[in-house]
Symmetry: C2
Subunit: 196 residues, 2 copies
DNA sequence: GTCTATAATTAGATAGAC
DNA sequence: GTCTATCTAATTATAGAC
């Protein structure tokens, strides 16, 4: 049983960063190879299936790590929904290149359908599913009111809104730090816009 | 004063549809030309600056139309925030290829900085700004509570959440129609998750 | 595991006829 | 305004030496 190769790990890490930031079509194999300190022909040793397989392997590895990191943050603040959502927001804002909507709609169609489908499910379960889980727990504790059929809907909306905030931050955010805006966003989700 | 050329309009319409759906890097000039019924070399007559200019012209034209359509829907349901937001949701769900976050983060960096910046501002003003406007109006009518500095934040979150819903719909939505889920999402924005 | 060399194809772009 | 023809460079991929 061989250990996981170190160069392969570094290659996948580099590939994940580039593909996540710029998208599948924009990144060329030479870009990945140069960033990893390899000749582009060497990539075919690690990913015999070529660009599509390299992308799939890199994204699977990245999504797995993302899900673990998010889960860890959510579990660390157990018992209070607001603290959990704030932890989730912190995670999103700390991850520079997160654009899972683009991955789903624009990148995955470049892969064989079964592979793309598996990655889409992995992304959805690991990220939206984790948020849906804490929402369900809070509902069970009586903190919030939420139908079982809507936990994924609200979890997805939360993730999308936070990633949009992260995207917009550099260009359009006001003078206040992103973390403060995320807090304000959580206020809206928890208390609503209408006066109480 | 010449009238706007018809073939040019159709070309821009086709280009906007393809670029919006698949992104700048994935669409080749030959794809656009074929869909428009032209030889790819003919594109340089309409966009002498090549692919980047064709993309910029197409997106500017598309964003202008989007802003007008959204504005029309918002103005049609004047006087009630919920009806206005429902109209906005209907517009988002009716537009198959909307992924403005990807355009901002992944597509625009392929353009000259000034051009990309102008399009980014146009997108933000026309879409998020329109939503921020109806939020501000509702605030002034006393329907909701919202700081002036947060109208754009909440407008952006609304747009992102609705587009994410549209994205997720085909693959992960439950049995209920997207319009119903959009309604439920508006409930959360208006009333919050916490019990009242 | 990595490289050199090379093939095969694709893509953006230009010149010039009609 | 559109086409044919052509060019140049980039891109994915493979074969085989080390």
């Amino acid at each position: 049983m061989t250990e996981t190769s170190v160069p392969r790990e570094r290659l996948l890490e580099v590939a994940e960063r580039l593909f996540s930031k710029h998208g599948y079509a924009a990144i060329k194999l030479r870009d990945v190879a140069q960033a990893a300190g390899l000749h582009h022909s060497s990539l075919y040793h690690h990913a015999p299936g070529g660009k599509a397989q390299l992308f799939a392997d890199a994204m699977q590895r990245g999504l797995d790590r993302h899900a673990r990191e998010l889960r860890a943050r959510l579990d660390a603040d157990d018992g209070d929904l607001r603290a959990q959502l704030r932890a989730a927001a912190g995670w999103v804002l700390a991850n520079p290149a997160g654009n899972h909507a683009r991955m789903l709609t624009t990148d995955l169609p470049n892969l064989p359908p079964e592979v793309g489908e598996r990655i889409a499910v992995q992304a959805w379960r690991g990220l939206v599913g984790a948020l849906a889980g804490v929402l369900r727990d809070a509902r069970d504790r009586g903190e919030i009111v939420l139908d079982d059929g809507d936990t994924w809907l609200v979890g997805g909306a939360l993730l999308a809104a936070l990633q949009a905030l992260q995207t917009a931050d550099a260009r359009f955010a006001g003078p206040r730090p992103a973390a403060h805006q995320a807090d304000r966003l959580l206020d809206v989700f928890l208390d609503g816009l209408r006066p109480r």
